[in-house]
């Protein structure tokens, strides 16, 4: 619980990330509340992606990345108390470019559960339908689940990737600029699914598109040069930011 009495899903304390000599993120403290959509905005190299990738320990895959500080998921230390694999099942991630694996639509969705040891075909089939429904893709692909996941349109691919993440039944979903390559219609569908998912998940959205942050975020944080300048309710950030730099970024003076 935080001071406002909300349930804290992710608690970040003193998080710092660096690559070789370059520092990407300096000592960040932040609580992410259960059931919110936290939008993170900021120019490139502001540390927002490094932050996102620390939350599911994807940073560790970078050969020169060094991470320090603590992150608690429901009070559990994500580095010391659970394995990276089980963490990533609870914190799903959507990438900027949709990357369906070179498998069928069905196998793309069941990939995570199968790796976790789920074998039963009926369970897997149910998961496929449920996840595709939640990602607003079921009606478009239900008759061709055995088609390659790489042969559908870009917008459909991104929703397939969302469905694939949902099949893990995660608590938290991280979005890394999920609509940067999509047309407005597909973007609207992705955003619609985010608002729906918010009812049962905690969402963290990194975006270069400030309008998108304004449309979906319950709260918005502004990152600049490895530091969090400001965080607050989305409406406040966009109408009355406390910091001059936030205002400059939002009105488009840099970035």
């Amino acid at each position: 619980m935080n001071t406002a009495g909300e349930k804290v899903k992710l608690s970040v304390r003193g998080l710092a990330v660096s690559y070789s000599a370059a520092s990407a993120l300096r000592s960040l403290d932040l609580d992410i509340v259960a059931g919110e959509i936290l939008s993170i905005i900021g120019p490139s190299n502001s540390g927002k992606t490094s932050f996102l990738r620390s939350l599911n320990r994807m940073n560790e895959l970078h050969p020169h990345a060094r991470t320090s500080g603590t992150i608690l998921l429901d009070g559990v230390d994500i580095v010391r108390e659970i394995s990276a694999e089980s963490l990533r099942k609870r914190i799903g991630m959507i990438f900027a470019m949709p990357v369906p694996l070179p498998l069928s639509i069905r196998d793309n969705i069941t990939y995570g559960p199968r790796m976790a040891g789920v074998r039963d075909t009926r369970t897997l089939d149910a998961l496929v339908e449920e996840s595709l429904q939640a990602a607003y893709l079921w009606d478009e692909v239900k008759d061709r689940l055995d088609m390659s996941g790489q042969k559908i349109s870009g917008g459909q691919q991104q929703r397939l990737c969302i469905a694939r993440t949902l099949a893990l039944k995660p608590d938290v979903i991280l979005y890394d600029e999920p609509c940067s390559g999509l047309d407005p219609l597909s973007t609207a569908k992705v955003e619609e699914s985010m608002l729906e998912l918010r009812k049962s998940h905690t969402l963290v959205l990194v975006t270069n598109n400030t309008k998108q942050a304004a449309r979906v975020g319950t709260r918005t944080a502004f990152f600049l040069m490895g530091e969090m300048v400001e965080i607050g309710p989305t409406e406040k950030i966009f109408t009355a930011p406390a910091d001059k730099r936030t205002e400059d970024y939002i009105v488009g003076r840099f970035g």
Binding site: N56, L61, R88, F95, M115, R164
Partner: protein
């Protein structure tokens, strides 16, 4: 400007001449062997035992011996080579150990083939007491072919997009699961290419088998791994330099079978590679 153009024409002409000097003999070699060896090919030549001190009959035992050597060396070298490539491409960090491994691979590829023969003699034949046998020869050939398998497999693994690995990790897969399910299936054709190329290479090698397996002449086919065996390249060496009075067509016939096998393997590898290239 005119003079420069003239100079360019002369220069390019010289380059072309050099290239032709390389390429024409290659074509001549292939044409010569096919033309002179074709007549020797017959059912009897391919599938019967040699007679009259190898001046008549066929080369069947040499073909069988080479097939044995190729497959047993591959059974040994393919798993080790593929796993070594997986280690280098998917697991190894950029550190001193990795540099030492890469240096070792380069050296393994560069060591003289007759030195491999000595090594096989000393380690497998003498020290491990395998004797002059198929297993000694196949292991020697297997070690010699490791660099081919490792480098082609590593290239194949590296051509798999990094994003597949990221996605697999992000879905909670472990490193081995990622390699097994997201990376390896995409690299199969490249691995196959490497295996086939190494088969061609192994089939044609003579020096490594001289003291480890090769027999001048055997009246029977080998029955087990501890038997000696005849082999095509050694047979060609023997009938070319050691036995006078062998019909020339026999020599060309043997050379044709050997080169035919090696070239067919290379063509298959090229076809697989270009098919895989198109898919991407």
């Amino acid at each position: 400007m005119k003079r420069e153009d003239k100079r360019q024409n002369i220069g390019f002409g010289a380059l072309l001449a050099a290239t032709l000097l390389v390429v024409i003999p290659v074509l001549a070699i292939v044409v010569l062997i096919v033309a002179k060896g074709w007549g020797a090919l017959s059912w009897e030549f391919l599938f019967s035992m040699p007679r009259d001190g190898m001046r008549a009959g066929g080369i069947f035992p040499a073909i069988v011996g080479t097939i044995y050597l190729v497959f047993i060396s591959l059974i040994f070298a393919l798993p080790i080579g593929v796993m070594a490539a997986i280690y280098l491409s998917e697991y190894a960090k950029d550190n001193a150990l990795t540099r030492v491994i890469n240096l070792a691979i380069i050296n393994l590829a560069g060591v003289s083939s007759v030195v491999f023969g000595l090594f096989g003699l000393s380690l497998f034949v003498v020290f491990l007491k395998f004797g002059v046998s198929i297993i000694s020869g196949a292991l020697t050939l297997g070690i010699m072919t490791l660099p081919v398998i490792i480098t082609t497999t590593r290239e194949a693994l590296r051509s798999v997009p990094a994003s597949y690995r990221e996605v697999s990790f992000s879905l909670g897969a472990s490193r081995w699961q990622t390699v097994r399910h997201a990376v390896l299936p995409r690299a199969l054709s490249g691995i196959l290419t490497g295996a086939i190329l190494s088969v061609g290479r192994v089939a044609g090698e003579t020096a490594p088998i001289l003291f480890t397996v090769a027999a001048f002449y055997l009246p029977n086919l080998p029955t087990g791994l501890s038997d000696q065996a005849m082999a095509l390249p050694y047979h060609l060496y023997v009938i070319t330099t050691q036995i006078p009075g062998i019909p020339e067509s026999f020599r060309y016939g043997t050379a044709l079978v050997l080169i035919g096998f090696v070239l067919v393997m290379n063509i298959i590898a090229t076809v697989i590679r270009s098919k895989a290239g198109k898919k991407r």
